[in-house]
Each structure stands twice: as structure tokens, then as C-alpha cells.
């Protein structure tokens, strides 16, 4: 589904990713771990098409398409979703209004007509119920006045409405207490599907207790320096990253 080959990315002339390789098959959950400044968030942003990053080499292929050639909205249309580390506030714009515009944008990309307003409302209400969210969330302005936990839950809610085939979670656990973390993780687990892949970027192994990955990758100095099973994450927690970095050096 997602193939990243020798990806090289610079920000303001400074290399961040230096030849990253990754293969993410459909239906799998891969975790990306790594020390601060290793390029984890850069990877998440580059996949979603955030401006300000210069790709200097390599390729990203998503379902046979050159992902890097697409605009952020086209990538969303192709089925890419980024759950933000810091969800952005859009004052005065209702969540549900934004989501309808998003869904229609995606449908347009796929050559479908606009969704029927009544069907849409029924659908989003059903999604709030299945995720255990309050319906009042729908009419609140996007992320404005939300607590940290509410923002992250809203990201998961948006994901459930937009039904991506590739969900990139950028440090979704940051700033969450253990209860909020569990709720968010449960939401993600509900969305696990043989046709949907997840790339979970995280600092801590803690999140992986709840969202259990198929593969754990260690990203350091702009490259994947080790891949393994869940046990690798536990080992990292116990031993830190230094031993790995030294082994690579």
C-alpha cells in the first residue's frame, strides 16, 4: 500500500530525512519511534504534504501513485489522513460543517457527487455514538476551546468520518493523561480494518500498549535504523536509544 524508498527531505536547507525506507502493507499498524529531532514528525508531515519541506530525493508510492506529486487535498482524496500532534483551531467554523466540506472535497476527487445532507447528519451522529462522543461536539467550532484530550478525540472522530486507507498518527499520545490515552486508542482500534493501514508516530511505548503494532521501526538521524516486533518497543523503553545509536555509529 505505502512504499517509501530512500526518502530525503530538507527544511531550510538542513537535511532531516536522509534516505528513509519503509514498506507498509494494507491492514497493518506500524509504529515509528525515535529520539527527539530524529525526523518523526517530518515524516508524518511530508506524507500529508505540508508546505515548507523540500524533498531532495527518493520516492513515496501510495497504491501505485506518486504521492509526493499530489497536493494535500488530493492526498486526502486518495485516502491519506493525518491526525495532528497539535490540532489547529478554526474559530467560527462548526466541526460538522468543516467535515461536510472535507467529505465532499474527497468525494469530488473520487468523481462522486455531494453527499445528501440528511444522510450525512445521520452518519456523523452514528459515528459520535460509536466513539462515545457527545453530539454537541458537532456544533462546536473546530478545536476552539477544546482540551488537549478533546482535540485528540476530535482527530479520531474526523478520521472515522473520512474513512482513510492510510492514517498517520503524529504523536497522538502527547499531552494526554492515561484515561484520555485509552479513549483515543480505543477509537483508533475500532477503525482498524484489513483495508486500512496505520503509521503511528510516538515517543513512548505506552501508546503501543493500547494500539498494538505489527511492526516497530526506530527512526534516528533521518533513517530507519532498526525494525522489529512489539518487543523492540519494550526494549527501547527499558534501555533507551543510546545503545542502538552506538551500534549504528
Amino acid at each position: 500500500m505505502l512504499t517509501i524508498e530512500n526518502l530525503q527531505v530538507e527544511v531550510d536547507g538542513k537535511p532531516i530525512l536522509r534516505g528513509l525506507n519503509l514498506e507498509l502493507p494494507a491492514g497493518q499498524v506500524h509504529a515509528i519511534m525515535g529520539p527527539n529531532g530524529s525526523g518523526k514528525s517530518t515524516l508524518a508531515h511530508v506524507l500529508a504534504g505540508k508546505p515548507g519541506y523540500t524533498v531532495t530525493g527518493g520516492s513515496v508510492t501510495f497504491n501505485g501513485r506518486d504521492l509526493l506529486a499530489l497536493s494535500p487535498e488530493e492526498r486526502a482524496g486518495e485516502g491519506v489522513f493525518l491526525a495532528f500532534q497539535y490540532p489547529v483551531e478554526i474559530p467560527g467554523v462548526n466541526n460538522v460543517y468543516m467535515l461536510k466540506a472535507a467529505l465532499n472535497g474527497i468525494r469530488k476527487h473520487r468523481g462522486l457527487g455531494e453527499i445528501n445532507a440528511v444522510e450525512f447528519l445521520a452518519m456523523v451522529k452514528a459515528k459520535t455514538a460509536s466513539l462515545g462522543l457527545k453530539e454537541s461536539l458537532l456544533n462546536r467550532p473546530v478545536n476552539q476551546g477544546f482540551s488537549g484530550g478533546e482535540k485528540k478525540r476530535n482527530e479520531v472522530f474526523q478520521m472515522s468520518v473520512l474513512e482513510p486507507t492510510l492514517a498517520v498518527l503524529d504523536e497522538t499520545d502527547s499531552g494526554l493523561d492515561i484515561d484520555a490515552l485509552r479513549i483515543v486508542a480505543e477509537g483508533v482500534n475500532q477503525l482498524r480494518d484489513p483495508k486500512r493501514s496505520f503509521l503511528v508516530v510516538t515517543h513512548y511505548q505506552r501508546l503501543l500498549d493500547y494500539i498494538v503494532p505489527d511492526v516497530v521501526h526506530v527512526l534516528a538521524q533521518g533513517q530507519i535504523i532498526k525494525s522489529g516486533t512489539r518487543e523492540l518497543a519494550l526494549e527501547l523503553e527499558a534501555r533507551g536509544y543510546d545503545w542502538l545509536l552506538q551500534a549504528v555509529a
Partner: protein, 482 residues
């Protein structure tokens, strides 16, 4: 923000959809302004002596006045002698008596603007008075309104049919010499709308005026007078467009509202005069005086305006809160882009006890647009217990535009309570990327953010106007972000 503002920078042209010219035979006064011009206009309209004298008095005052220079706008000196003060579509009869008498080309013009004159096509429940250059063309739904006792007609007709009402209220809110442009208007105003809502009457429909400037080198000087008698209510809508031209055109209107005991006027404007091109060529100078007088107890005036057009906007819809417990409101969205300039806001003059006012101003600047909010809240000594809430927000798109805020406060009564909130924000790369990553295209994302910013004001507009306003903003912002 450290990242370069690449996305938000490329702010370019906008399409002006109302920029067509109607090819119609016009009766035209050559450019120039003198007492003879004033006499000509008055004579053309068959006005009574008192009104001619009123105009001449205004003209004499105007000649001694100086054009104001305090506003945060810049434009070359206006040559008042190069403007034509009268342009009217030629009509076989003295004036259209029914729809059949109205020139089909005029009707076509209004159809293009989306305001069909034929009543059956009208948005249900909206009566429209249409002012084309200098004359009022047709007022729809006249009979139905007459049944309710509501008078809604052109200003000229009001002078003929209801001289006592016009005479009693004309110039009592905006005196002839109030300011330079009001004085000019008082001398040469050509037509406009007149509304009288009798006691304890709720206007059976929303009233609406559509202004359009068509002729070249013409000034438009319309005058609107609305009187809401005790216990009455009316919602009044005003829309404006003008064709695309390279020269600047002057629009100096005066609007006077009089509200008596327990009455309310809700006045909504969607202003879409031609704004000029990207380089600032052409466009309307919109120098307008709008003021409402809450004369009665518990009276209320609510101004809502969405200003997307004009090269320069100079406009401060104001409320004089005389009556005890009277309420003044001002909700405004002003958008400037390319080279547009706006200096707009309001004045809330609290005279009566327990008077309250609310000001919500949303300024959007894009391109090289300059947007200034200028507002005065004055609490007189007599205004025991007066309250004001002011909120003043600016949104910047790109980094070549400007937003300015000039709030003035004068308080002479220590029991008054005033609140003021202000903010300036930018459409950030982060907001745009967030929405785009959800599948929303760039322009739709900008529109979404702008509409969210304006929401507090849009919700004050009547439904169909709110839709039009949103559409207008999105058209005005077309190509805003590359």
C-alpha cells in the same frame, strides 16, 4: 511563524460579476455644480419651493465647507465640477406607472443582478425599490404594503404624496451641514427610498432597495429616510452594484432613521460597488452618512453591513440613543483587497438613561487592502447606567495589507459600563494545511476560515442576504491565496 508565507502571499485579481454596462438611452446633465444644477434637479422632480430652498441652503453651506481629511484613506482630489449630478434612463412618460412602462433593458439589468422586478419571481416577502443612477425605477409589492398602512416609495414620490412626513423628518437626524458629503447630498440628492411604518405595525415583509450606478461620470446621491412610528417594526435591506469603469465614481448617500417609542428598525446592507482593478484603477468612492435616531423609549436600531465593494469606503452607521432604554447595534464585515481602502465603523451616542449598545466589527484585509475600524462610544452626562460592548477583530490575508483600529471613548457619567475587545489575526499556514489535509481545496479552505471569522455578523443578516453575503465574500476572495 518561521516558514515563509508562500501560500498566503499570492493575492491576485477578483472577478466582479456585476460589472456589466446597460446600454440604455439616458438623460444626462452635463458635468458641473452650481445653484443652477440644484435648481435643475429640483425642477426636474417638480419639487415644492420649501425643498428647493432646503437644497439651496445646503449647497451654500457646502461651498463653505472643507472635504474631511482625517480618514485613513488616500485618493486624488475630487473635482466636483467634473461630475454629472443627474442621469436618468429616458422614459416616454414622466415616470414608470407600472411594470409595463419600465424599459425592458432595465429589467434585464436587474435580472442579471439577480433581482427580478416581476413580483412573481421575487423572493417571497421582499418588496424592492430599485434606484438606477438617479431615479427610482419601480417599487414592488406596493399594494400589499399599502393595505398594512406601510408607505414604501421613492423619495420623489414621497415628496409629492406625503410632503408633511418628509418635511417633518428630513434632515432631523443628519442635518444638512453635518459633514461635507452630507451637505453635498442634501443639495443634489436625486432620489432614494422613503419608508413610513405606522403605529403598532409590523411591516408584512422585508423591504429592500437595490442601487445601481450605470452612467459614466455620474455621482449617485440618494437619500433614504425611514420612520418607524411607536410600536412598529421593519427590516430593511439595501444592496448596491455598479459597472466596471476605469474612472472613479462618487457615491455620497445619506440615510436617516427615526425610531419612536418601542419601535425597531433593522437595517442590513450588502455593498458590492465596483472596487477597482488590481492596480487600483477605477472603483466607487463610497462616502456615505448613515445615522439612526432612537428618539423613543425602548426603541432599537440595528445596523448590519457587509462591505466588499468600493475603491474607498468612508462610512459610519451610527445610533443616537436618546430614548430611555434604547438600544443600538452595529454588526459589520468589511473586506478590502487589491488596492481597496476602507475607513468604517460606527458612533454610539448615549444620551438617555439605561441605553445599551453593541458593536461587532470584523475587518478582513487582503492583497494591498487597507482596513480601518473607527468607532466612537460617547456616554453623555445624562446617560445614567449606559452600557457598551465593543468587539473589533481584524483578519489579515497575506503580508502586504493593513488593519488599523481607532476606538474613541468619551464617558461623562461614571455609572457607565464599557467593554472593549480587539484582536488581529492572520489566516495561518497551519489552518490552511489543516483543512487541506482533510480534503478541502485551498480556496474553499480560505472561504471556510473567512466565513467562520464573519459568523457573528452573518447570523444577524436575514437568511437570503446571509447567503448572498457569503457568496460575495468568496467571489471577492477568488484567487486570494495562490
Amino acid at each position: 511563524m518561521s516558514a515563509p508565507n508562500t501560500d498566503v502571499q499570492a493575492f491576485i485579481g477578483q472577478k466582479y460579476e456585476a460589472g456589466f454596462v446597460t446600454d440604455i438611452e439616458q438623460e444626462h446633465l452635463p458635468p458641473g455644480l452650481s445653484e443652477d444644477t440644484v435648481r435643475f434637479i429640483s425642477g426636474k422632480k417638480g419639487e415644492p419651493e420649501w425643498l428647493l430652498e432646503w437644497r439651496l441652503k445646503a449647497f451654500r453651506r457646502w461651498k463653505e465647507m472643507k472635504e474631511p481629511e482625517w480618514a485613513h484613506v488616500h485618493y486624488p482630489k475630487i473635482d466636483y465640477q467634473s461630475i454629472s449630478y443627474w442621469a436618468a434612463p429616458k422614459s416616454k412618460t414622466d415616470g414608470p406607472q407600472s411594470l409595463a412602462d419600465v424599459d425592458p433593458k432595465l429589467i434585464e439589468t436587474y435580472n442579471k443582478l439577480g433581482i427580478p422586478l416581476e413580483e412573481q419571481k421575487m423572493l417571497a416577502g421582499v418588496a424592492v425599490d430599485v434606484v438606477f443612477d438617479s431615479v427610482s425605477v419601480h417599487t414592488t409589492f406596493k399594494e400589499k404594503l399599502a393595505d398594512a398602512g406601510v408607505i414604501f416609495c421613492s423619495f420623489s414620490e414621497a415628496v409629492r404624496e406625503h410632503p408633511e412626513l418628509v418635511r417633518r423628518y428630513l434632515g432631523t437626524v443628519v442635518p444638512q451641514h453635518d459633514n461635507y458629503f452630507a451637505a453635498l447630498n442634501s443639495a443634489v440628492f436625486s432620489d432614494g427610498s422613503f419608508v413610513y411604518i405606522p403605529k403598532n405595525t409590523r411591516s408584512p415583509m422585508e423591504l429592500s432597495t437595490y442601487f445601481r450606478m450605470n452612467a459614466m461620470n455620474t455621482g449617485q446621491f440618494e437619500r433614504t429616510l425611514i420612520v418607524a412610528d411607536a410600536g412598529s417594526y421593519v427590516s430593511y435591506l439595501e444592496g448596491c452594484t455598479a459597472p466596471q469603469r476605469d474612472e472613479n465614481q462618487l457615491h455620497a448617500a445619506v440615510v436617516e432613521l427615526v425610531v419612536l417609542d418601542d419601535a425597531e428598525i433593522k437595517y442590513s446592507t450588502v455593498q458590492n460597488w465596483y472596487p477597482g482593478d488590481e492596480e487600483g484603477r477605477g472603483g466607487i468612492y463610497n462616502f456615505v452618512t448613515k445615522r439612526g435616531d432612537c428618539r423613543g423609549r425602548n426603541s432599537k436600531i440595528s445596523w448590519t453591513q457587509v462591505e466588499t465593494g468600493s475603491a474607498i469606503t468612508w462610512k459610519y452607521p451610527s445610533c443616537v440613543l436618546k430614548g430611555e432604554n434604547s438600544v443600538g447595534e452595529f454588526y459589520s464585515v468589511a473586506l478590502t483587497h487589491n488596492r481597496q481602502q476602507a475607513d468604517t465603523g460606527t458612533k454610539m451616542i448615549h444620551l438617555g438613561r439605561n441605553t445599551r449598545s453593541t458593536i461587532v466589527s470584523k475587518g478582513i484585509s487582503a492583497g494591498r487592502g487597507q482596513n480601518a475600524y473607527r468607532g466612537l462610544v460617547r456616554i453623555a452626562k445624562s446617560a445614567e447606567g449606559a452600557r457598551n460592548y465593543t468587539q473589533c477583530d481584524s483578519l489579515l490575508i497575506g503580508d502586504q495589507c493593513g488593519a488599523h483600529t481607532f476606538p474613541y471613548v468619551e464617558v461623562k457619567n461614571s455609572s457607565a459600563k464599557l467593554e472593549h475587545e480587539a484582536s488581529t489575526s492572520k489566516i495561518s499556514e497551519d489552518q490552511l494545511f489543516y483543512l487541506r489535509s482533510r480534503g478541502i481545496g485551498q480556496e474553499d479552505a480560505v472561504n471556510l476560515i473567512v466565513n467562520g471569522f464573519c459568523r457573528q455578523v452573518f447570523k444577524e443578516l436575514p437568511m437570503e442576504f446571509a447567503v448572498e453575503a457569503q457568496k460575495l465574500l468568496s467571489v471577492s476572495l477568488e484567487g486570494a491565496v495562490g
